[in-house]
């Protein structure tokens, strides 16, 4: 397809809440196969930017183009389903009363069934589709190292394990692009390694592109090629990860200049 075009292109996105300009005229792009980082101090508008790009909130102005298609104003579920662009949430969220396998099957369903009506089916076709999803889910569960706890309700697992479930869920539909909102927040270092490994595996083997919001600079420098810095709703600077952390302006922004 349009291999020369960026996978995701966001142009001049702005969003205000009342008098507060949360995001002000930000343009970014993500190339195919890339892991990009989005950093900035607290309150710099990163999450709002995510929400506006993924359809959870409606941008005031700006266009979001995914794979050559204008998806501005699409709902969250449509962007996920039709655009195969998925996102995670800052707070760890899983379907708490369901086990890991069910969590993952749900994540895959809407990409396997062609319509809502089809999901009400109980026939052979429907069963074989679900069986396929289960197989894939088991693979991913193994990969994420959750095999031993796969029958426990997700709500009973640790924060890190739930993060892994959430992450594995997003890999179910063979996504093109995943937007991660602080994947490392509040989890212990052991699991951080595992999450990093999983991201890299997904990127290399499954060809998934990433945009990652992260405060852990070590993680950012180790996985991201390119980094965009937001400050007070505007794009401050953009460049290669190693250059960015040396940048004077970025340091000032983080140190509360």
């Amino acid at each position: 397809m349009n291999a020369h075009l960026p996978l995701l292109e966001i142009r001049n996105l702005s969003k205000s809440y009342g008098a507060v300009k949360a995001v002000n005229d930000v343009s970014i792009h993500i190339d195919r196969g890339e892991i990009a980082g989005l950093i900035g101090p607290n309150g710099s508008g990163k999450s709002t930017f995510f929400d506006c790009s993924t359809g959870l909130a409606r941008p005031d102005t700006g266009t979001v183009i995914l794979d050559g298609q204008d998806i501005t104003g699409w709902s969250l579920n449509r962007i996920a389903r039709e655009g195969r662009m998925l996102r995670s949430f800052q707070k760890t969220v899983t379907f708490k009363s369901l086990d890991a396998e069910e969590n993952l099957v749900i994540a895959g369903q809407m990409f396997t069934f062609p319509s809502i009506a089809a999901t009400f089916g109980l026939g052979k076709l429907s069963r074989s589709r679900i069986e396929g999803l289960r197989e894939r889910a088991r693979e991913l569960i193994k990969m994420a190292g959750l095999w031993d706890v796969r029958h426990q309700p997700a709500g009973n697992l640790s924060g890190g394990q739930q993060k892994l479930i959430q992450f594995a869920s997003m890999l179910m539909p063979e996504p093109k692009l995943i937007l991660l909102d602080e994947p490392m927040a509040g989890i212990n270092p052991k699991i951080i390694e595992r999450v990093v490994d999983t991201i890299l595996y997904a990127n290399k083997s499954l060809g998934v592109s990433f945009l990652v919001i992260e405060h852990n600079i070590d993680v950012v420098t180790s996985i991201c090629q390119r980094v965009v810095v937001l400050d007070q709703g505007s794009k401050l600077v953009e460049g290669l990860a190693h250059d960015i952390i040396q940048d004077q302006r970025v340091r000032e922004a983080y140190l509360g200049g």
Binding site: A80, F95, L98, V105, I106
Partner: protein
Amino acid sequence: MSLTETVPQARRRDLRIPLAVVLIVVALGAPYMGSRYVTHSLIIALIFMLPAHGLNLLVGYTGLLSLAQAAFFGIGAYTAGLLAVTYGTPFYVNLIAAALVSGAAALPLGIPALRLRSTSFVMCTLGFVIIGQAIAKNWVSVTRGDMGLSSIPKPYFELGPLSFTVSGTTNFYYLALAVGVLATLAVWAIVRSPAGRNMVAIRENETLAESLGVPTWHYKLIVFMISAMFAGVGGCLYAHYLTVVSPLTFQMYYSTTMLIIVLGGGAGMISGTVFGSLLFVGLTEALRVAPEVRMIAYGACLLVLVFWFKQGFAPLINRFWNAIGGVK
């Protein structure tokens, strides 16, 4: 249970199959085992089980607390009653019409209501019942206002040259039982389908479900309509059984009754709703031994339910079922 887990040490005898047989025999033979009063009580339980099944899909599976069920129950009752009285249509026509009209009515009501959150949604659905009653009272040319519909004919079937009328309590019981079993199977099918899984996902975390591509709004609307259809079917049986439909059919009391059945039985469990409807009717009828304090005792039972049986009776049924199956 996975095969890798250890086999339970002392497997007791599995009594589940004998019990299931007993239950089926009791269900089929009930009219010949007790008085007509018992049969009547079972019919009432079956009639209320239908809207409760619908409500269970909403409350138990999708996580939407609705009090609108009585409104759709009333719409179904009026649809069936009017058809039977005016055109003398066969029962299955009334039944399908009641389901369709109730389901169709749920569409324009659900679209605005489902945009609301929690308490506002509950109040909005309660409003449907109140407004439904006002319409039934004032749209005299159609509903005959406060006079209501009475002498609704007994249900009759017309299959080719064959036609027969369901008369008498016993026969009506079998009709209600057949409808009830079909409805229960329908709920089972919905719940077991991939859509059922999506409904649970919406209950657990709507935003997460949305982010995984589930069109939550469409699902909620569809489930709202399906639940209204179940209520409509219940309304149809109600109209034929009681032979009277009046604006009183639209009342909060029925909505709360259905909610009590679902929550008392155990939300999110089909067996819970079936059991809940029996429990509810059994309880209210049992309390008739003391008419003066009946509703006081009933209120106290609700408090017991809320504080001691938070999950309803379904977990107990499950334990019992597993226990007699020898599974620890």
